[in-house]
């Protein structure tokens, strides 16, 4: 589904963030991306989401080169994905319901369909009772669950999560990870970037290791194997 070919990204003021990355993500796959802070995890996710363009290399979606799409095509490309951020990125002046409904409005869902889909997504993250609350009235874990509900409400084919448990305690982190596992089981390909190697290893999934911008190793079921040049 997603293929990166020799992708590098250089920022003018901080040098090369990632270098010569080759990576394939298949439909329905779940993989972790780990590495220390500043290793390039967020940059890699941003390139996949076309938030930033690679300096070199190519990005393919279903074998179509999407590296330099036009602005409208980028919006359509992103609308096939769900993005989860460490800082939740919720609209604080809108209710939980309105936040979760936003991708449906953007994607042109029928007005009549929206309430049912929003409530189903909120039910999956156990926040149906908070639909009328404002994000600021929720705990960090609840806000992250709202962010996840917003990411999955329009049934994306790829879920990208950047440090989704970064601000949460171990118990809440486990609950959030379990949610990702549930969505992956119904076929949503998922890429989770996290520096918490202990949490990742407990799930026995394919793991990519980024170190100083290079994708050096991978672990499948906890076993480290080489995957890229």
């Amino acid at each position: 589904m997603i293929r990166l070919q020799n992708v590098s990204k250089r920022y003018p003021d901080s040098g090369e963030a990632i270098s010569q990355i080759n990576l394939q993500i298949d439909y329905g796959e779940l993989l972790f991306l780990t590495g220390p802070s500043g290793s390039g995890k967020s940059t890699l996710l941003k390139i996949i989401a076309l938030i930033t363009a690679p300096t070199r290399g190519l990005l393919y979606f279903d074998e179509r080169n999407v590296t330099h799409l036009g602005r409208n095509s980028i919006a359509q490309y992103r609308s096939r994905m769900g993005l989860v951020f460490q800082d939740h990125r919720l609209l604080n002046d809108r209710t939980v319901y309105e936040n979760v409904a936003l991708p449906l409005r953007i994607n042109g869902f029928r007005r009549q369909e929206i309430p049912g889909r929003v409530r189903a997504a909120l039910d999956k993250v156990s926040l149906l009772h908070k639909e009328k609350s404002l994000p600021m009235a929720l705990s960090g874990g609840e806000q992250q669950r709202v962010g996840i509900a917003r990411a999955i409400v329009h049934k994306p084919i790829l879920l990208l999560a950047d440090e989704p448990t970064g601000n949460l305690d171990p118990q809440l982190s486990g609950e959030i990870m379990n949610l990702f596992m549930q969505f992956n089981q119904v076929g949503v390909a998922t890429l989770i970037a996290s520096h918490d190697i202990n949490l990742i290893q407990s799930y026995h999934k394919r793991t990519l290791q980024l170190t100083a911008g290079r994708l050096r190793d991978a672990a499948v079921d906890g076993q480290v194997t080489a995957v890229s040049s």
Binding site: N72, R78, R80, L83, G108, F109
Partner: protein, 309 residues
């Protein structure tokens, strides 16, 4: 490369999204009524000035157009010239000079016309027993005639006591009216540019104020068109509201000034007043205001939103 949208967007959805954007824009504006109204008043004043100038220039144009058909020279004859001699002189002048018509007028008729002008009615009544006015000859010059030259020639005739010739004054007023029309267009253009700049800036501030929200919406797949839509409605509503209030201001000004204008018109024997706006012009002005607002908002949105993620 184009990606198929995950959902087919039909017209009803499109209308729903527009209605939704409009509702959200109105809701946001209702949360900041003073900021919105002060901007609208600024726009309204900028719209009202050209409207008032247009109304005034239109009225003056009506006057000078009317005078165009009235340009004539009046010869006041000496008191000892009788009506038969006046008629003979009129016929002689018509043969000798470039004039379309020359008609002698009995002094009693002159007094009757004079008394019909309201400000002279009382004076004319006191003259009824002993009319001090002479017979006159009214001359309608030919189309291309040099009026000043003709007036000079008539003044030298021994039977003529006085030549009344106001056309030069009319020409000056006409020139002033034409200049006013040009000034009105220039001021209108400058003020419309001002309105555009005001709306561009207000929309830019609004976008800057909602930058974080725009970033989030774009990250979850919103197109530039989707993001721009509320700002376009915002600009259109500023322009539309400004135009509506400007119309009220211009109409109120016309009502306040009309009495003074009527008095002025009476002095010049004219019959005009500041015109009210027709329903077509009202609709045109309101639509024009909304379009100007939309245009300005589109400029601001294009500049700002395209640079975000």
């Amino acid at each position: 490369m184009k990606f198929a949208s995950p959902r087919k967007i039909v017209i009803s959805h499109w209308l729903y999204h527009h209605r939704d954007s409009l509702n959200k824009t109105i809701t946001r504006l209702s949360h900041r009524p003073i900021a919105f109204l002060s901007t609208v008043m600024l726009i309204a004043v900028a719209f009202a000035i050209p409207l008032a100038l247009f109304t005034l220039a239109h009225a003056i144009e009506d006057i000078t157009t009317g005078w165009d058909n009235d340009k004539q020279i009046t010869l006041f004859l000496h008191q000892d010239i009788n009506l038969d001699s006046a008629n003979q002189l009129a016929a002689d002048l018509q043969q000798q000079f470039a004039i379309e018509a020359a008609n002698a007028m009995d002094k009693d008729q002159v007094l009757a016309d004079f008394s019909q002008q309201t400000q002279y009615t009382l004076m004319a009544k006191t003259w009824q027993d002993q009319n001090p006015l002479p017979h006159i000859i009214k001359i309608q010059p030919a189309e291309q005639a040099n009026l000043e030259h003709l007036a000079g020639l008539f003044a030298t005739h021994p039977d003529v006591a006085q030549v009344q010739f106001d056309w030069l004054w009319f020409q000056r007023l006409d020139a002033i009216a034409q200049m006013m029309t040009r000034i009105q267009w220039i001021i209108s253009a400058l003020l419309i540019i001002t309105v555009i700049l005001i709306i561009v800036n207000v929309v830019r501030w609004e976008i800057a104020d909602r930058m974080q929200e725009i970033e989030i919406i774009k990250l979850i797949g919103a197109s530039d068109a989707f993001v721009q839509r509320p700002f376009l409605y915002f600009g259109a509503m500023l322009g539309l509201s400004g135009a509506c209030i400007a119309l009220l201001m211009a109409q109120a000004s016309a009502v306040l000034l009309n009495q003074a204008v009527l008095q002025l018109a009476d002095l010049f024997a004219g019959d005009f007043a500041l015109a009210s706006f027709t329903s077509t012009s009202i609709l045109g002005l309101i639509a024009g205001g909304a379009l100007i607002g939309l245009f300005a908002a589109a400029i601001a949105a294009q500049q700002k939103i395209h640079t975000i993620i």
